[in-house]
């Protein structure tokens, strides 16, 4: 074992990216002058050297088998001298020097079942997470919801007919691995029932002080339950964040009857025009309805179309709502405003309407 460690390489880091850059990028690195969107999913970047780089973007699927990766490699070998990349939203991008290759590549991609688009004023792929496929913490599935939603919204991926960019993200629990907290539309898996405590195993499997400390609302306190050292939950203080479960397997919170998704709107990340914004609660709860979550799919289409029909050019979801005000948003969307929408966490007071800037 010692010698295994001896002659073994560690801490050498990832391969240097330069090995993976196509020649045209090496030559024009830092020299790009401008870009143009040629058609949905296709853009050209023009360099000061007048070199032109064509990009074709397709949905990668993200959760893919090696077979699919090999398909991409075949296409990259065929059209891109063996280079390709993925994007920060998990699309696959093919980088071409010959414009005449664009259409054949697109044809091959379509044949492979991978839509081309997501560039410009479009809906691009949904950043998402593991869900029931791989995570113990999930309140809903990730890939299934994403698939159902994008099947429905694919026209907005394949065309650029929206007022601006619209970013959708999904996280299957409050840990928010999808970083959904700043998305135009966020789908968030939520629990609605306090954890069920397994008093027999808790002491053995968890550090009671850590469990108590993990609760943001101090709903967990140490308790002795029929002779066993354990914890108890003050139910009315619990808001189902599952952080106690994260640190303690003996407090399972997932519950088929009460888990589901909530929908959030109006977040953005870019600094373009408006500063970055958090997403805000639109629909407090939609029960999990696998395999295709039809209620969630319909609600999201409704939000997209409402925005598309009413936003001004370049207005992101949140910018549009800020202009018209939230009361109008609730009226127009038909979503009922409820107690759940009113913040009651740390900075709640700052979310109250502290002016008479109202629409009637």
């Amino acid at each position: 074992m010692a010698d295994v460690m001896k002659d073994r390489r560690t801490d050498f880091g990832p391969p240097h990216y330069s090995k993976f850059l196509p020649p045209i990028i090496k030559e024009n690195y830092g020299k790009w002058k401008y870009h143009e969107i040629l058609k949905p999913g296709v853009m050209v970047h023009v360099s000061e050297t007048d070199a032109k780089l064509f990009t074709v973007r397709a949905s990668s699927g993200r959760l893919i088998a090696i077979d699919k990766i090999r398909n991409y490699c075949d296409l990259a070998d065929k059209y891109c001298d063996g280079f390709l990349r993925f994007t920060s939203r998990h699309n696959v991008e093919f980088l071409l020097t010959k414009s005449e290759n664009i259409d054949p590549l697109i044809a091959d991609l379509k044949a492979l079942g991978h839509p081309v688009g997501g560039i410009g004023n479009a809906i691009t792929s949904i950043v998402h997470t593991q869900g029931w496929v791989h995570c113990h913490s999930a309140a809903t599935d990730a890939s299934g919801v994403v698939k159902a939603v994008m099947d429905d919204l694919i026209e907005y991926f394949e065309e650029t007919k929206l007022p601006g960019k619209l970013r959708i993200a999904l996280a299957c629990c409050l840990n928010m691995c999808g970083a959904v907290h700043c998305s135009d539309i966020a789908i968030l898996g939520i629990h609605r029932r306090p954890p069920k405590i397994n008093h027999d195993t808790l002491k053995k499997t968890c550090e009671i002080p850590n469990v108590v400390a993990a609760c943001p609302t101090a709903a967990v306190r140490p308790a002795e339950v029929d002779g066993k050292q354990s914890v108890e939950i003050i139910e009315e203080r619990c808001m189902f964040c599952a952080n106690c479960f994260t640190v303690c397997p003996s407090m399972p919170i997932a519950d088929p009857l009460n888990d589901g998704v909530s929908i959030w709107v109006g977040g953005k990340v870019s600094n373009a025009r408006h500063e970055p914004m958090f997403s805000k609660l639109a629909i407090p709860f939609i029960p999990n309805n696998p395999p295709r979550w039809p209620e969630a799919v319909e609600a999201i289409r409704g939000l997209v179309e409402l925005w598309a029909a009413n936003a001004r050019k370049y207005e992101r979801m949140g910018e549009w709502i800020e202009r018209i005000g939230w009361p109008k948003f609730f009226k127009m969307s038909g979503i009922e405003f409820q107690k759940e929408h009113i913040d009651d966490f740390k900075h709640a007071g700052l979310t109250f309407k502290r002016s008479t800037h109202l629409t009637f």
């Binding site: 907290h181 018209i324 009113i342 502290r354």
Partner: protein
């Protein structure tokens, strides 16, 4: 005729064009030894950079729990004239209008029984009679009574309500602020005079969103006039303003927070359903634009100064309400709020702080008001939602239990 002490430092404040309070105190001192000692103590404060007043004790007039601020000098031997120097808060008439007759009457009373110094007015709105002794309180009250002047609030009671002059002289008043202010004051005389709340409670009435009594910043309940329906426009007058050299695009349209106005050089268009009722366009074109015809008010709750939990602005409680006598709907709401707050509020917890502590949603349930989107600047950003019901195994799918 008291002899006035030397006040070299204060004398510096008799220079300059702005009216001098020092001159005023000296004038009063010609007549009142209290004011002579006030000058002495104040000069010492200016010399030593510190005040010389003690905490106020509880003093008042019989049957009233508020309206008098007890004040005692920390240096009574040196300045006996201000060993007692209490303030009487006299409830001003709504809108601060007076006849000279009424004012002269108050002056006469105050000449006879007090320092002769006043604040016209205190920042809550009362007439402040500044400086008298405990034994003068009853006689003063008796004489005020003769002229129909009652005293105002202090301590943990309803404070003296005040308002902008509204319809009496302003074209923008969306409800009758002075009428409502007088009515509230009369309706809640007991709450005004006998402290029984966890802490003070203030009403301020403004006739429109310009909020000329700063009610949104300093009233536990801020009642601010507002309108529904289209802003009334006199197109000819708009043209006049344009001709007169007003740049309607940059002065008006570009300043509209709702971005709901358009000016094509000849015609001004307002998308009224998006108007945020900020008043700006009306403010700058008073001859051309006026608030819409359906008038009422927005009720906001909870503003206050910083102590203890930090300053608060009032926030929307009722987006729009018509305000006509007998104001039953309003008074019912106020009573429900006071009941809940008096029941569960902590000592020295203003209603705004109380709402923050218990949560707006719970507060609304307690006072039986439906939550509406107008109450929030935006819905919650955090996912820490206290969903109140969940299904138990074996429930009928349709029915839910309370947690």
């Amino acid at each position: 005729m008291a002899d006035i002490p030397k006040t070299p430092l204060l004398d510096e404040l008799e220079k300059g064009k702005w009216p001098s309070f020092v001159t005023e105190i000296k004038t009063a001192a010609k007549r009142s030894p209290m004011c002579a000692d006030l000058l002495g103590q104040l000069e010492q404060s200016y010399r030593e950079k510190i005040g010389y007043w003690k905490h106020g004790g509880i003093v008042g007039v019989m049957g009233y729990g508020g309206g008098v601020i007890g004040r005692y000098s920390a240096l009574p031997e040196k300045y006996p004239g201000v060993s007692h120097f209490h303030t009487i808060r006299v409830n001003q008439p709504a809108g601060w209008y007076y006849t000279t007759e009424a004012l002269r009457a108050i002056c006469d009373i105050w000449e006879k029984h007090g320092s002769g110094l006043t604040n016209m007015h205190g920042s809550t709105g009362d007439i402040i009679l500044l400086g008298t002794t405990t034994d003068e309180l009853e006689p003063i009250f008796a004489e005020l009574t003769k002229f129909d002047f009652d005293i105002g609030g202090s301590g943990s009671d309803m404070r003296t309500p005040s308002c902008c002059l509204g319809m009496s002289r302003c074209e923008w008043a969306c409800y009758d602020t002075m009428a409502l202010t007088h009515d509230i004051t009369m309706h809640f005389q007991d709450e005004l005079h006998r402290p029984a709340f966890p802490y003070k409670f203030k009403f301020k009435m403004s006739g429109c969103p310009n909020d000329c009594v700063a009610s949104i910043a300093r009233a536990d309940m801020s009642i601010i006039g507002n309108w529904k329906g289209d802003i009334q426009m006199d197109k000819a007058a708009v043209t006049e303003y344009a001709k007169g050299g007003m740049n309607i695009q940059s002065d008006v349209v570009n300043n509209c927070p709702a971005k709901c106005m358009e000016w094509d050089g000849t015609e001004l268009k307002i998308e009224n359903s998006y108007c945020k009722h900020c008043m700006h366009c009306i403010n700058v074109m008073p001859k051309a634009l006026r608030p819409g015809k359906e008038r009422g008010a927005t009720i906001l709750i909870g503003s206050k100064a910083p102590i203890v939990e930090g300053a608060l602005l009032s926030s929307v409680l009722v987006p729009f309400i018509k305000l006509e006598p007998p104001y039953e709907e309003l008074y019912d709401l106020v009573e429900r709020i006071w009941d809940v707050w008096s029941e569960d509020g902590k000592n020295r917890e203003r209603v705004g702080e109380f709402i923050q502590r218990v949560g707006m949603g719970n507060f609304l349930e307690a006072i039986e008001v439906e939550p509406v989107a107008e109450m929030v600047a935006h819905p919650r950003e955090n996912p820490y939602v206290f969903y109140e019901d969940y299904y138990e195994e074996g429930d009928e799918d349709d029915e839910e239990d309370d947690a």
